[in-house]
């Protein structure tokens, strides 16, 4: 018998296999069409803008576009000796054009990033350039200021020729490319970003640890108490969870301030003298205390949902086999809660590492995190490309943890409330 006749046919005479595949594809398309609006919306308003951040963070076209002729003429220059006359001429022409368009200020800011000292000599050049005679620009420019005769400054300009740069990422790690193109660290006392990264990791780690130590006993209590009591206690966990973050931060600001309730209490029980109240806010202590309390529910809820599924008879079995309560707990109960611990810890760590509001309000100078630095560059220095670079470095870290979380817990298993 040939295989052709062996196939089962539907009533339309189409082979069943083909017909099923067609139906399957139709269902696939149907399911996808349901997801499509949200997916498209997120792609346009969210995922692509994150890609835009990536572009901004490596983008260095500004100077490239401001000095097109200069960079063209510099292609042949090897950078060892002073550039030839044609480079000076091209630079003069580019610069005059920028002055006409009133964009020379931007150029001086940009070049000053690359090498200090450009601002003043560009200003001087602008003044003098009005009276330049045609021809022999090399001599005329070099005569404006002695730095214009320094080959270092011309090399600095050449370094800005590429349209893309890794400088912002290096800056985020307190490194830079020196004149020889090597990647080196900045001086020890100017390594502010490394301090911030380490502090962010440190605070996220200890907040996670504190949350775990506090959440474990109460999750256990909630999971083992009879329903009517545990429901009541659950409110203590859920009410902060639903309450505005700013309200909770505000309450910590009231509690922790120098004339605040906690200090009043310490004075009352005689722990500290009235005139020697400790500063508990606007430093790391404030950040630790407030963040731990705010993130605690995120640890309790996953732990609770895992503990709820552990049958009490397991503990009884362990005890009846001769284990002391501690041994039974350690050998039977604790290993069963590890999925919950993993979920809770990763969730809290991810949230803590990107925290912004609370550290900004109670952290002061010594308790702020990397997010605060990003916000600072977005709002104050307006160095958006640097903010983007820092944000993406943070994002890379978070996504790595998220990936682990997905492998361990599964994204479908996130539980809310």
């Amino acid at each position: 018998m040939s295989s052709e006749t062996g196939k089962i046919l539907t009533t339309d005479g189409i082979p069943l296999e083909v017909s099923l595949k067609k139906a399957e594809r139709k269902n696939k398309i149907k399911a996808f069409l349901l997801v499509a609006p949200l997916l498209l919306f997120l792609l346009i308003t969210y995922i692509f803008p994150i890609g835009d951040m990536l572009m901004r963070s490596v983008d260095d076209k500004m100077v490239t576009e401001m000095l097109p002729k200069t960079f063209k003429s510099m292609e042949k220059w090897d950078g060892n000796e002073m550039p030839p006359e044609e480079v000076f001429e091209a630079f003069y022409l580019d610069f005059q054009k920028l002055v006409e368009e009133k964009r020379d200020g931007k150029l001086s800011t940009q070049l000053n990033y690359t090498k200090n000292g450009f601002k003043s000599i560009l200003k001087k050049l602008r003044r003098k350039a009005k009276n330049f005679e045609e021809g022999n620009y090399k001599e005329q420019i070099m005569a404006v200021h002695k730095r214009w005769a320094d080959v270092e400054y011309w090399r600095a300009i050449k370094r800005r020729a590429p349209a893309f740069t890794s400088a912002k990422y290096l800056k985020g790690m307190d490194m830079y490319k020196n004149e020889e193109g090597e990647i080196v660290s900045v001086e020890e006392d100017r390594r502010i970003h490394r301090v911030l990264w380490l502090r962010t990791l440190e605070i996220a780690f200890f907040v996670t640890l504190l949350c775990f130590l506090m959440a474990y006993p109460i999750a256990h209590l909630l999971a083992t108490l009879p329903m009517k009591y545990s429901n009541l206690l659950m409110i203590c966990v859920l009410l902060p969870f639903w309450t505005s973050l700013l309200v909770r931060t505000a309450s910590w600001m009231i509690l922790l301030q120098q004339q605040g309730v906690v200090n009043d209490f310490f004075v009352m029980i005689g722990l500290v003298a009235d005139d020697n109240r400790p500063e508990m806010m606007y430093n790391k202590t404030g950040t630790y205390v407030a963040m731990t309390q705010i993130l605690l529910p995120f640890m309790v809820l996953p732990l609770y949902s895992v503990m709820k599924t552990i049958s009490p008879s397991l503990m009884r079995a362990g005890k009846s086999l001769g284990g002391t309560p501690f041994i039974t707990f350690w050998k039977v109960y604790f290993p069963l809660t590890i999925p919950g611990i993993g979920a809770g810890c990763l969730l809290v760590f991810i949230l803590a590492i990107g925290y912004y509001i609370t550290p900004a309000l109670v952290g002061g100078a010594s308790g702020t995190l990397i997010s605060n630095q990003i916000a600072f560059h977005m709002k104050s220095t307006l160095d958006w490309s640097f903010a983007s670079a820092m944000g993406l470095m943070l994002l890379a870290g978070v996504l790595a943890i998220y990936w682990v979380y997905n492998k361990l817990v599964g994204i479908d298993n996130i539980k809310l409330g």
Binding site: L38, I47, I50, W242, S244, G354, I411
Partner: protein, 284 residues
């Protein structure tokens, strides 16, 4: 949780230590919220308990700051509350609509690339808010939607949908698909089946997702700080400004109102969760 009579003394002690630790943690969790209540009725301008308050002197308490919140001249709270509610309501509607439809697709067993798409849809919840803020700001600035209500609503839809997707997918995981097949076999078209059969069954999940989306929008400050102009100020922005510049008791009055609001939302969410568990036949 009574101990059996035969418990040895050192376990007995350990048990009481355990209860003590739990009490302390619960206190740590909930007590800070309750500091705000009495202080918002402070007659004076300080943010600590005055002598009069400690002695429960009625003169030390007043509704001064509540009056200031509502009637105070050049007080931004009225506008902020109006904006917050408008933005939160539209953001919730948008999130619920997009999120529920997407969750229906995701729960289908025919969905291709489920893991990848789910991860993408959930990402606004995982990515640190500051990064979302920067990205969304770049988009809104390009689209000319910065400092508009529309822009903020769209931003909050982005942040709110993951919650709806998660809660509705969770509800649908226990969903018996034979009821929709039964409806189809009885001649109902897909839209009718959805409205009459599916939606009523998944409604608790949809509403609790909506509550999450509402709270997210109502409480959101990081992204709004990037997007809002003077006209679009919201309650969180006003609180943020107030907390940064000077802690005034008016903020505590607002905070008290917010705590009451969140209590209401909590109760609603809890009732819904129980109803949903009952409907899905999960008995505990």
């Amino acid at each position: 949780m009574a101990l059996p009579k035969y418990t040895e003394p050192h376990y007995r002690i350990w048990h009481y230590v355990y209860i003590f630790i739990c009490t302390c943690v619960f206190f740590f969790l909930i007590a800070p919220l309750f500091v705000i209540f009495p202080l918002s009725f402070n007659a004076e301008e300080f943010l600590s308990f005055s002598e009069g308050m400690k002695n429960l002197d009625p003169d030390a308490f007043s509704l001064r700051w509540y009056k200031d919140m509502i009637y105070g001249t050049k007080n931004p709270w009225g506008l902020a509350a109006k904006n917050s509610f408008i933005i939160a309501i539209f953001a919730t509607l948008g999130s619920v609509l997009l999120g529920t439809v997407a969750a229906l697709g995701l729960s289908s067993r025919h969905m291709p690339y489920k893991g990848l798409i789910m991860a993408t849809l959930i990402s606004p919840m995982i990515v640190p808010l500051i990064i979302s803020g920067v990205a969304i700001f770049f988009f809104m600035a390009k689209a000319g939607l910065a400092a508009t209500h529309t822009g903020i609503v769209l931003a909050h839809i982005i942040l709110g949908t993951p919650f709806v997707v998660i809660t509705v997918t969770a509800t649908l995981s226990g969903f018996d698909h034979s009821v929709t097949r039964a409806a189809s076999s009885l001649g109902s078209d897909p839209v009718n089946t959805f409205m009459k059969i599916t939606l009523p069954l998944i409604l608790p999940g949809v509403i609790s997702g909506g509550l999450f989306a509402f709270v997210t929008s109502f409480d959101e400050v990081v992204v709004v700080l990037f997007l809002a102009g003077l006209e679009n100020t919201t309650i969180p922005i006003q609180m943020w400004t107030g907390l940064r510049e000077q802690l005034s008791p008016t903020i505590l009055a607002v905070a008290t109102c917010l705590i009451i609001l969140s209590t209401l939302i909590l109760v609603t969410a809890e009732l819904l969760r129980r109803r949903s568990e009952r409907l899905r036949g999960i008995n505990r």
